[in-house]
Symmetry: D2
Subunit: 275 residues, 4 copies
């Protein structure tokens, strides 16, 4: 399956400001790109890219005063099958976890693991460890939290989500991640493209958030918001929580004026592939 | 100057538990070690060490039920001069910061940068950028916050410190770090040994916390708690905040029963050096 | 000046629910009413009214499943002059405050006085006590907080307002009230009608919030949101904060479906007055 | 049963400060006093007393710079039976609650009812309404929260208690009160004397906190900390939470230097009674 992804994001910049963006496809998917994955800027800026400590491809640039447009598009080969499910995946005892996964057990800005140890134990401590426990967490979050775009705010933490019971997709994942970590299951925040392929309701397109849990030696995709295996999920960045993988960060003021994201199946094979 | 450092920490472990410890001297100080820096465990355990994403040397082990003792001691060569002061160090515009410093501008568990943008601008936005601004932050924190061991708690964030105005050394640093980041100055949390060499008041020894700010191309030591250049500071670990560099983390219950830390000038040169 | 006030509020009630409403004009304005101040309900319900501990006139009723409409209208005689300003009003030392004002120095749900003692002292401790200090508080809040309907939420406290710097009129008042109390100035939350008489910009009508501070033996109106003396302010209820004076409280689910408020100068004298 | 109660509390007052105290026996127990209930001050101060909006007897005075001592003692007749238990007491539908009880359904500083609606419904929504539900709340709080004097802090809210799971007696009651209110059961905070009569463990004496829930037309004593009917409980004050009934409040600095409370059964009948 070929998926066309892309974005067109515009800002009004009141005064020159340094910005960072995580709008590239994650390096783990480089082999699936059928077109170059480049970010265009208008005006044309000098953009430097680097791989951050989480393995994400980041872009940095200095945005001048005025209008700024970031855009890009690429074509990604995706499996014809939805997110993998492995019901027999076991939890890994902490002593056997890989070193680099340990950081995903710790606190982060939006995931106050230290305040959830007992809540998580009360709710999920008695569940069978492994895939089914992570799934039980997703089921709980999905059932208890109501989606509402109007109730988004940048300071909302897992504890806020737990008490307010409303939020957007990042909030669902933050709460689920925090429950996992509190139970010693490494969990990390993920952002990327998620089309509505094979899904009846079509929402306005946006980037999406989900999370990955470490079970049985590998990172697995979970999504407490949609809570069902989906086709065509394309990873852009992972991190400890939304703080680490903001699609754009401006170190000063930048006013978003336009936001367009596309994720669609490309049904006719592109010329490049045929050739 | 030679400084003898060491620790003897004991726990009562109710049931086998995985633990991690950051009790080693930081790799950046390896060249200053005059004795091996090894952690002993009682009972003798299989300990694996690794370097984490922040560059710290970490130890991992599985602690069995019963008593656990972690101890170690080494001798470190230190400059005869206190923490360096560079009054002319300038702030680096965000666009010129090294890639790897950017993460130290972001939110973390105890440093809610997103909630401090305006508070920091109100208090320090008008200050001359550079070393003197970071020093102004330290002066403010040092003047406004009262030290009180009895008011420590593991969930206390920079915002709690700002409102409660009382805390222990980690709390002083979390608040100062958050102010720095909110002003686009990279700042990271540091732990290590800090003796009371040349200081009149002698407190019971403990590990200490300070922070580093990135100015003029380098990381500089600041200490909002003591707020004066000190002799013999020996780094153990750096991270985004105290979550990342806990001296020990147990993924289950471990009850601290004994805690002893030493940091003293060793006045007679050790045999090894003479030979 | 005669002011016509009224409201038409509708709910969809999924299951029978007890409700309370504070939609009456405050008893202190009874003498200014030129028409009866009655709340109609559709369907017609048995409504009981009482005066609560803060002196407000409250209504209670049991709403049946289905549609519910609350409406009312009355005509109020108002002074032709705006909110009184008394620049020489002094702060009253706590020992001389009336007993019943002391509760307005204490903490309440949205006014965490205990967390603002030092912040208030830092910002306003050096100001000349009295009217000008309360005005300085209003000026600060008015300048620093941005109004945004979309950023309202029912759990937002003064501390949230202080860090997020955005909110609706209740948020402005909560922050100002908290500053006052932290400085030992009794302050209470007020709701009522506030027309836009004599004001250029006309917003969609809503109930409004302001606050009262106790100076020189009396309660005076302040409004950190509008921050200028206004014509035709008509009090409905006072309390410790918004928790105490919700225009309607349902002890179960009640979904607001329609909301209309009117506050207008009535230019032709009504028949009753002429007679 | 006769119970001797009393207190001796001393402060160091750095500068003249207004204070309020709630150290009197509650007016509802006036008929049980066998000796006058007077507060002595050293130095001798002009003290005025009044009944606050919650029905408590409060004292106010201006404390001069220097040492201050508040002391008092009285003898109270108490039933020979422990706190009454009424297992058949029903919850009162909100529409039938007395007007003056409604305020005890609302939010207050330490009881964030708005953040607990769903948590309370999850935990206790399925319980049989009435006495047994309030008892289930007390059982839960008593089982889940650990008592620790060293973990007290004045800003700790019900939500903090719920996440930290540790606190002192006021914290236990705040959490239980919040659960009750979230389920539409009026609940109010109470302070007073509680001896250890008939209880094996003898702790250092202190004032105590408990709470009252409104069931079946009356306020009943519950105590999530001790969680068993006790002898000789003597009420001093009730309020929405600890903010309203602080045993002393100083509107400026007052440093506590000595604290002594006594609550003991007086076995020999006093002269006054015999006569």
């Amino acid at each position: 399956m070929l998926i066309r992804v892309g974005y067109d994001i515009r800002y009004e910049i009141p005064a020159q400001v340094a910005m960072a963006a995580m709008l590239h496809i994650h390096p783990s998917r480089s082999g699936d790109l059928l077109e170059p994955d480049e970010m265009q800027t208008e005006p044309r800026l000098r953009v430097s890219t680097y791989i951050d400590g989480f393995g994400n491809r980041c872009a940095r640039f200095l945005a001048p005063q005025g209008l700024l447009r970031l855009s890009g598009s690429t074509l990604v080969q995706c499996p014809d099958t939805p997110d993998e499910v492995n019901l027999t995946a076991r939890e890994v005892p902490v002593e056997d976890l890989p070193d680099e996964s340990l950081i995903y057990l710790l606190n982060s800005r939006y995931c106050e693991v230290d305040r959830f140890i007992n809540i998580a134990a009360d709710l999920f401590g008695g569940r069978t460890p492994g895939w089914s426990r992570v799934q039980a967490i997703c089921d709980w979050v999905n059932a208890k939290i109501t989606f509402d775009y109007k109730q988004a705010r940048s300071t909302k933490t897992a504890l806020d989500v737990f008490t307010e019971r409303v939020g957007v997709c990042r909030d669902f994942q933050h709460l689920a991640i925090t429950f996992c970590r509190a139970l010693n299951i490494p969990a990390r925040y993920a952002t990327g493209y998620l089309g509505d392929i094979g899904v009846p309701v079509r929402l306005p397109m946006d980037f999406s958030a989900w999370f990955e849990a470490f079970l049985d030696g590998a990172w697995w995709t979970f999504d407490a918001r949609n809570n069902e295996p989906r086709l065509g999920r394309i990873l852009m960045a992972v991190g400890r929580d939304a703080s680490d993988v903001a699609l754009s960060t401006s170190f000063g003021q930048a006013n978003l004026t336009h936001f367009f994201v596309v994720t669609e199946e490309e049904t006719s094979a592109p010329a490049r592939l045929i050739a």
